[in-house]
């Protein structure tokens, strides 16, 4: 059963929003995601293109400026809220995991 969209974030979604706390363009987003995830999470151009369109449509991010073929984005208040919720959820999962004393 597929997860309901944007109810919980996938890894690429989470990292893209995280990166967009600062204003970034598409190419920088890809690099930054790779950087902050220690090259663990990779976001392809197709995926990023789709997600940016989706996020913008949902009001999670805003485009701020354009220069040539590049476009810059930043997270909105709604986006921050979603990101925070996801962060809390992940923390809760980690806390819950502690009972296993791994």
């Amino acid at each position: 059963m597929p997860r309901k969209q944007l109810q919980t974030l996938s890894e690429p979604m989470y990292y893209i929003l995280l990166v967009l706390i600062e204003e970034q363009n598409g190419v920088d987003i890809m690099k930054r995601v790779l950087e902050i995830s220690n090259e663990r999470v990779k976001v392809g151009a197709g995926t990023l293109y789709t997600l940016l369109g989706k996020f913008e449509k949902e009001g999670i991010i805003n485009s701020t400026k354009r220069a040539g073929r590049k476009c810059w984005y930043i997270i909105t208040a709604k986006g921050r809220e979603i990101l925070q919720t996801e962060y809390d959820r992940l923390n809760a999962m980690i806390d819950n995991g502690k009972i296993l004393k791994l």
Binding site: R3, V43, G44, A45, T47, L48, L51, K70
Partner: protein
């Protein structure tokens, strides 16, 4: 050296096409372009090229530009596109895949697929509802505006498609410029793309119009003769056979899911049900003239042609009795010397009526009297007048008029033969009796 091949895969099977292109490159044939379904390869040294085939659905020029930038920056060079299929080649060996999130990809593909299907389904549904409403409730002149409305719908449909194509033309031109794709011949490519889009649009439009025209006959209004009906029935029959063949092919090829793209599966059962529903809707949709299914299985639907007067062995030649005042009534019967008494009004309508009456006569001939009830009314100047009811299965007598439901059939028996006629009460205030009197006058004139 160049090589042209037909793309062996449907649009949705992008993985297979990717693999195929890579296999060709390994054999020394590198993809340089794609025109519609034609793949163009250039002979080069065998190499391990990596391709990505994506469904390309540009929404705005800004997104296209950005996407182009993203692809190039991440080591993927767009080689070519056609219609909505885009092919990219990996230029940086360390480049990450174009699509890294399968879930997102799946959602996008489903969305694209859904968008391509729902419009057709909605259009069919609206057409059916529209038809049903008019068929059941519209009476009188309103019913006769149906042809006009449906013709208008057809024109609007075509117009909308033309608008789509113009939009597509503009967009493709822009895409072409913005994406700076080097093709063999950019002008030819644009023209080809436009033609390809046109081709698809026209096929869809003509298909839709043919189906519509069969039921409404508006498009072919004024075209008379047997060929008129033959053509429609043949078209329907062929299309029906094609649909059946498709379903058989699907059934045979059961393991292969139809319409699958990557992980998007369209289960066989769902596809079969969809096809069945579509077939049923098309074939059983009530038509203005006849239910096509009934006509398909009704013998001698092509009409009669005979000079004999013998009822049992005869086939009959249709004849139009006349058009009296506001009433249009069309007769069918055996006249002296098989003469056509009068030919006026619309031959097109005559064809419609005669098809029905042929069915009725066929049943009479085979003594299927259960479907026909004769009610003796009165005698007028030696002519016995009966009313006919329950003449065609599925067309039960309706109190509420819809132009075809309210019609009455009269059977007139006179010394030289008989006559069946019907008329529609759609205008004027003349009574049935007056019409019958007029008809008897005509018969007497003819006898004299």
């Amino acid at each position: 050296m160049k090589k042209y091949e037909i793309n062996p895969y449907p649009r949705w099977r992008t993985y297979e096409l990717e693999a195929y292109l890579m296999k060709k490159a390994a054999k020394g044939w590198k993809l340089t372009d794609i025109f519609g379904k034609i793949l163009i390869f250039q002979k080069e040294e065998p190499s391990a090229c990596e391709y990505a085939v994506r469904l390309f659905t540009p929404k705005s020029i800004r997104q296209i530009e950005e996407y182009q930038e993203l692809c190039e920056s991440s080591g993927w060079k767009p080689i070519t596109w056609t219609d909505n299929l885009q092919i990219l080649e990996k230029t940086d060996p360390s480049a990450i895949a174009i699509d890294t999130d399968e879930e997102i990809l799946l959602i996008e593909l489903k969305k694209i697929r859904f968008n391509s299907v729902w419009k057709g389904l909605l259009a069919t549904f609206i057409a059916c509802v529209f038809y049903m409403v008019l068929f059941l409730y519209a009476g009188g002149m309103l019913f006769y505006t149906l042809d006009l409305l449906m013709a208008l719908m057809g024109i609007m449909y075509v117009a909308s498609k033309i608008a789509d194509i113009i939009q597509c033309f503009v967009l493709l031109n822009r895409v072409k410029k913005e994406m700076r794709i080097k093709s063999v011949n950019s002008n030819i490519k644009i023209v080809w793309n436009i033609c390809y889009v046109w081709y698809r649009r026209i096929i869809i439009t003509i298909g839709g119009l043919l189906f519509l025209s069969f039921f409404v006959d508006a498009v072919f209004m004024g075209i008379k003769g047997g060929l008129f009906y033959a053509r429609n029935y043949i078209v329907i029959f062929i299309m029906w056979i094609v649909m059946l063949l498709i379903m058989i092919m699907i059934a045979i090829n059961g393991k292969e899911r139809v319409y699958h793209a990557r992980k998007v599966k369209f289960p066989l059962w769902a596809y079969s049900i969809y096809q069945l529903v579509m077939c049923s809707m098309i074939l059983f949709m009530p038509g203005v003239t006849e239910n096509p299914v009934e006509n398909l299985y009704t013998p001698n639907m092509w009409g009669y042609n005979s000079t004999t007067k013998d009822y049992d062995s005869a086939t009959y030649e249709s004849s139009l009795i006349g058009n009296m005042g506001e009433y249009m009534y069309v007769g069918y019967g055996l006249m002296d010397n098989d003469t056509i008494l009068e030919q006026s009004t619309s031959d097109y309508k005559l064809q419609i009526y005669n098809t029905r009456i042929n069915i009725l006569l066929d049943r009479l001939k085979h003594n299927e009297t259960k479907t026909c009830t004769f009610t003796y009314l009165y005698e007028l100047r030696g002519v016995k007048i009966f009313q006919l009811d329950g003449y065609i299965k599925g067309y039960e007598k309706q109190e509420k008029g819809n132009g075809y439901g309210y019609d009455k059939y009269y059977y007139l028996e006179y010394k030289n033969g008989f006559c069946i006629f019907r008329f529609d009460k759609y205008a004027g205030d003349i009574t049935d009796k007056q019409v019958i009197e007029g008809l008897v006058d005509k018969l007497e004139q003819n006898a004299n």
